[in-house]
Symmetry: C2
Subunit: 293 residues, 2 copies
């Protein structure tokens, strides 16, 4: 059993109605000229965070950041969010208040309205974030639009979150605790990128996924933008950077930075077996995060 | 800490932007003439179901039914659903396939499209259902519209789910395992009811909640429609019947049944302290289900 196999068998059952595949579902029930984006993301105690190392405000921030990052990956504007919480006994009033401190500070900064949710008790904390956003009709970015010859880019730097998770120290740890959803970059890319997704599970697995959706191969032949102090393993396979991975037609000018965030070319889309990624001449193993491997 | 206190403190923080209070959030980002309804509901192992007594198809059916029931309570048409699953090791491929059997059979019957979700591992199963629906602008039913003089009704019969949970036998157990969201009744009530909600936690707590939202009191002075074999405790305080509780202006004719579902008058809304419910002359204690009491 793997995450990919569960999704594949579900897709096979749903047939042509399947909307699964991108960071958000794109729904037609939106105002004229717009489409509605919907994403949902789980965060589970001892899977995505530990009570001993993550402050409640960090958990609140990160839960919302994961959902906003999916909206950013589609080039959308986040509008409303919902949060369902399964709360264990140790999560008392003070913990919950500080959880919402972190959550609502980011909601205010991103101009997204908390519009509902659900509460249950449980043995361990689990939170599900749902974010609704909008994009102009036909402009939301998909994973499936990468074509041979398109240049591959990433925003920001890679590997910082994985380094932070291993050291629990310094700027890398802050990067892990407080990821910044790349909403401004996503908006900028709406009319520029041919494909886009967020880097939640690691470059090797996420670029593989994009190539599968686009039915292409990829070549990485440029130096990767690395967070200070990381190893190659962190850069290639580390999850939770929440940077954007995108492609653009060779004729499209992509600036070196957008609103202070570096945009770095890392390679090129090529014809070939769907999903195959080559790293400086060698096949790149798919080693990012899969919940069920 | 109680569910109500958590929501109250959150409401106080969110101020005028708070949309919390009804079974769904009502959002303006919908096509002209429509409003978008969004609901989210958690289902946690050993809180909402037990692995030893609930088959995977029952869990799938019930998770979606809980979400659809919220759409029914608002008088809406369900359109899309999303399901996030935290899966323990015991939930292997066969369990997941049968979970989706139950889930998708109800989705097909209700004409709702599964449009996405998320997967994580966990120690215990948790599922979060998100349903998006539509109603004509201004027609979605709220908890806050009940006014003194309005008649109070319930659909179907009460207490069956609580009886089934205590006996694990017969039709009552089937009622607990396979609740039927009252979508047809909800649609019928759009232009008839002044207030509506679904009975998920028990009549005493849910009618109390409606009266709080509407700033009124209520008098129950008609016999309650009871599921065969239940006790008064089951009828007054038993949860998970997923029937509709609604009010209507005295001038509005409500038929005795709609599409085979009984609609029974149980009392009247009166002026008084918000939330107070009187049952044949005596104050009714609020004894339904609160996760944190």
């Amino acid at each position: 059993m793997s995450e990919i196999s569960i999704l594949e068998s579900l897709r096979a059952r749903l047939g042509p109605r399947a909307l699964i595949g991108d960071d958000c579902a794109v729904l037609p029930c939106a105002p004229a000229g717009k489409e509605l984006l919907v994403t949902t993301d789980l965060m589970v105690e001892d899977v995505h965070f530990r009570r001993s190392t993550h402050k409640p405000a960090d958990v609140g921030h990160k839960l919302l950041a994961r959902g906003l990052s999916d909206i950013a990956a589609m080039g959308g504007d986040p509008k409303y969010c919902f949060v369902s919480l399964a709360l264990p006994k140790w999560a008392g009033d003070a913990w919950i208040a500080r959880f919402y401190d972190g959550f609502l500070a980011l909601a205010n900064a991103a101009k997204v309205t908390l519009a509902g949710g659900d509460l249950s008790h449980a043995d361990k904390f689990a939170g599900d974030i749902i974010v609704l956003g909008e994009a102009r009709r036909g402009e939301s970015l998909k994973r499936s639009g990468a074509k041979p010859g398109h240049a591959i880019y990433v925003s920001g730097t890679l590997g910082g979150s994985a380094l932070g998770l291993s050291t629990h120290r310094g700027r890398a740890w802050q990067r892990h605790l407080r990821p910044e959803p790349r909403l401004a970059v996503g908006r900028f890319l709406r009319t520029k990128a041919s494909a886009c997704m967020d880097l939640s599970d690691g470059l090797s697995i996420d670029l593989h996924r994009m190539c599968v959706e686009s039915k292409v191969s990829a070549v990485i032949d440029h130096p990767l933008p690395a967070f200070p102090g990381v190893t190659l393993e962190h850069v290639l396979h580390g999850g939770e950077d929440y940077e954007l991975l995108f492609t653009a037609n060779a004729a499209t000018k992509i600036p070196a930075t957008w609103k202070g965030v570096p945009l770095t070319r890392i390679g090129t889309i090529v014809k070939g077996e769907p999903g195959v990624v080559t790293f400086f001449g060698n096949p790149l193993p798919v080693k990012g995060y899969d919940h069920f491997r």
